[in-house]
Every structure is written in C-alpha cells, then in structure tokens.
Point group: C2
Chain length 306, copies 2
Amino acid sequence: MANASGGTKPKVCVIGLGSMGMGMASSLLRTGFPVAGCDVDAARVEALKGQGATGDISPGAAARGAEILITVVVNAAQTEDVLFGAAGCLNELAADACVISCATMSPEAARAMSERVEATGRRYLDAPISGGSKRAASGELTVLASGSAAAFEASRLVLSAIAAKVYELGDAAGLAASFKMVNQLLAGVHIAAACEAMAFAAKQGLDLAKVYEVITAAAGNSWMFENRVPHILAGDYSPQSAVSIFVKDLSILMDMGRSGSFPLPIAGAALQMFLMAAGAGMARDDDASVARVYERLTGIALPKPT
Amino acid sequence: MANASGGTKPKVCVIGLGSMGMGMASSLLRTGFPVAGCDVDAARVEALKGQGATGDISPGAAARGAEILITVVVNAAQTEDVLFGAAGCLNELAADACVISCATMSPEAARAMSERVEATGRRYLDAPISGGSKRAASGELTVLASGSAAAFEASRLVLSAIAAKVYELGDAAGLAASFKMVNQLLAGVHIAAACEAMAFAAKQGLDLAKVYEVITAAAGNSWMFENRVPHILAGDYSPQSAVSIFVKDLSILMDMGRSGSFPLPIAGAALQMFLMAAGAGMARDDDASVARVYERLTGIALPKPT
C-alpha cells in the first residue's frame, strides 16, 4: 500500500467536522494527504472543501475508496451509525482500510466495534484523543491508542500528521478507551472542583485573579484549574468544551462503575454538578459553567464579561 | 529593634517541632537566627538543641524574650492554647513581638486570634504554609500571609529564611486563611480523585505505571496526582502527609460552608473518602491511603511494597 512504501500518502476520510475533526482534517491537508470530509452539517463540509478537500454529508459517499477512516463523532452510537448504519461507510472503504476511532466510549463498546470492523478484513485502532481544538488545528493532539500491530502500522503516517504524542497502550481495542476514561474521571472532577473552589473564593470575598495566581503556583493546582479558571475570570462561557461533553463522559464512567460494581463517589459528585449546569440550561455552554451553578444558587457574584 | 537595622537577627521561638516546624527551625538556625524550640515531645526539643538551639517543652519557658514567635501546631485550638493557655507564652514574648501563625484554621479563628494578640500591643501575621516537609527543611516553603504592615515588617527577615515565596494577601488576618482553605479544598479533592482514578484503573486491569505516565502528560493531571500517585505505585503509605490532616482541613471547610449556607458537594464527597480511610484505621497513614479504601472494599489489587 501507499503508506507502506513511505511514498504517496493514503486517502483519508474524516467523519465528524466539529472543532476536533475539522482541525485534524486541516492538519492532514496541510501535510499533503488527500482528504475527504463528512459532517451532518453541509456548511462544515463546504468549509473543508474550501481548504482543498473533497466531501459529502453522507459517510458512505465521502468515504468511498478511503484507506484510512477517522471517526471523530460524539459517542459509540454515532460511531456505530457512521460505520454500520443505513448510510454507513464501512463497506465503501478499501478492502484493507484502517478505522481510527476517536470518540470517547467504553472499553466494551470499543472492543465490540473493533470485532465488527475486523470481521470484514479491515483494521481498527482504538484511538481517543486529548488536547483541545487548538492542538487539533496545529496537528499536536495527544492520541491514546491501542490495537493490532497491523492497525498501528496502517495508521502511523496519519497519526504523525495529527498528533504531537501517540501513546501505544496495548495490542487490543479497549485499552486506550480505558486510559481515556481514567483521564476523563480526573478531568471532570478537576473542572468541578475548580468551579467549586472559585465560587467558594468569591463567597469569601477574595480577589479571584489573586486566587488564580496563588493556586496555580501551589499544591492545589491542576491542568484543568489552570486551563478553565480563566474562563470564569473573564466571565466568558462560550463553549471551548461544553458541559454536555462531561455529562456524557462521566455517564459512561458511571455505567462502567455500575456494571463492575465499582463505586466512584468523587466522579459521581462531579457528574451531578455537570447535570445541574445542564439542567439550568447551560448544556451547550463552556464546562466552566459549573461555577455559575453555585452563583445562581447562592447569589455570589462571579466576574461579568467586560 | 534588631531586625529594623538589618543587623543582628531577632530571637525566634518555634512552637511545634513536627516535620514542618522542625524544618523551619533548622532553616532559621542555618541562616544565623537565635532559635528556641518547643514541642510536647521532649525528644524533638533535644533534637533541635543538638543543632544549636535552646528549647523547652513548655511554650512559656521556650518563648521567654522572643521577638518572633512561630506557631506550627495542628489547628486553631492548639494555637490558642500555646498563646493563651495555662502554659501559654504570649506574655513571655517581647512587648512588641510578632506572632507568625502557620496552623491551618478558619478565617474567623484567625481574625479572633489576631485581635487577642494585638490587644496586648503585639503583632500577628496570619501565615499558613504550603510545600511539604522537604521544602520546610530547605527553607523553601510557600507562605500565604496577611496582616498589618507592622506585622509584615517585623516578619520579613524570618520569612525570607523559611520561604521561597511569600504571597502578601492583604492587610488583615483571615485573608491568608481564606486562600489556604481554597487551596485545601482543591488539594483534598485532587488527592481523593487521584486515588479513585488509580483504583478504577486497577479495576480495569491497566498498567498503573503507564497510567501515571499518560495522565501526568495529559489534561487529567494535578499537582497532587503527580505527587501522591508514586506512593500508590510503590505501595508505600508511610505518612508524608497523613489522612488526618485532610479530615481536619476539609472539616474546617465544611464548617465554613455550613455557617455561610454555601454548598460544597465535591469537597464534601472528598471528606467522606478521607473519613472512610480514617475509619478503616488509616488516619495516621499517608493520605494516598484513600486508594486502599477502594482496594479494601472491592478487592482490586494495588501494588505492594517491594
């Protein structure tokens, strides 16, 4: 195949042109891959075409003949629909194509997806991503990946175009999904804790910018505190990552906990805070909106946009 | 006074020679301060004397004539006892001495303590510390400080001997205590979350050293995850910071929440995990012992000491 020789680049189809998928598709175009894009929103497909891609709103039409398929949709159900649904594309791919599946899903779902794809003779890389939309656009994502040696080999060129760091986490689908869920547990809790701490600081009448300065240099710091609290300080809840993402990811985690009889009380408390934000109409707002739940309930004053 | 001229150094008394106070006293001796130490444990007093200090098991006897008193005890009640109790030392201090109070306590307790000290003509610096025993020993603590200009001026030489960084957080006692409580909220939640995440990772059968490698480079990282998870990986729960510390600090936080009608559900969930660890007999073990609560309950296997 093209990528085995290191010569011409394989044809790649990216399905799901949200902030992550669009950035990944752009990174691939920039590094010389032939790219087809697909999204339910025709305007996004057109935007990618403007960068030199082909594309279609139907996965089957977009993916025809692709050697690499990257699915960057919301969850396992959408991934399944893209691959196996009525307008699904799996059978349109090259006979030995590789599916790089980036949606966050349970390890069980990833294993099931992999089995169905591999039953057609194709490869499957369980490949959840991390890093946010800016790093997607610059080709500097972190990819947590697991799958067969053949899946890694087929994906190597594409991964190096979209990622600054690829963790190889084992030879079976599901392992990368498990690592991603551990990360999401921590990330979700840390966002909720950052919001609770800043709301509590406001209740105490503290200078919130000073709190940010002190905490980011202290033992209370987290990656999420450092990244999300500036949204609170700016009073800017336009979604860089929406509340609904953590409702979804922590719900997958809770399902895993229940099915394995494994208690997750801290993550469970965090999920309730994201649900409060969603219930208050903030599901599509930035996940730092959890701070506004405390504001709405208690009457503290958080910063307003300038 | 001596410190106003920048010449001879003021006589300092350090009360509470645990891992933090002993390190601070050693840093002061190393930088040429005359130091008196006090602890209920006579062996600790003797150990400090071996480094060139004077000392006594009675606060009043140890503090006689001191120009700076540093209290590094467990909580507000002990601080109060040291200052105002039957063997208390406030009236033994120089007439214009300054009390540097390092115990974590509520802002309300810090304000009350400051008022009582200042009513005697002495000064009071609300000065909770952060950084751990190693940085106490090397004179590189972080000090969160608030108080009058006179209290800051009196404390300056001593603070520069014990701290790498001093945050000046306002002109009244209680402000530094509030910042410290915000930090403890986050620190406590992050320890509990780190333990929950590592226990969950063990449940999923993941390589825990690999989880540490991936998470510390990912959005799920926190200062506490990075600092405490190595204890779990080594199976070493000898106390660097004990479970009981966070039971105490998060309980102060919960009291503040209750008295101000301010909900703190994430911190509340974390406190329950520290209480579970304490209830299981681990109160004096390292705070990463929260991971062993999940182990004991669910039968997952965490690393054993080698």
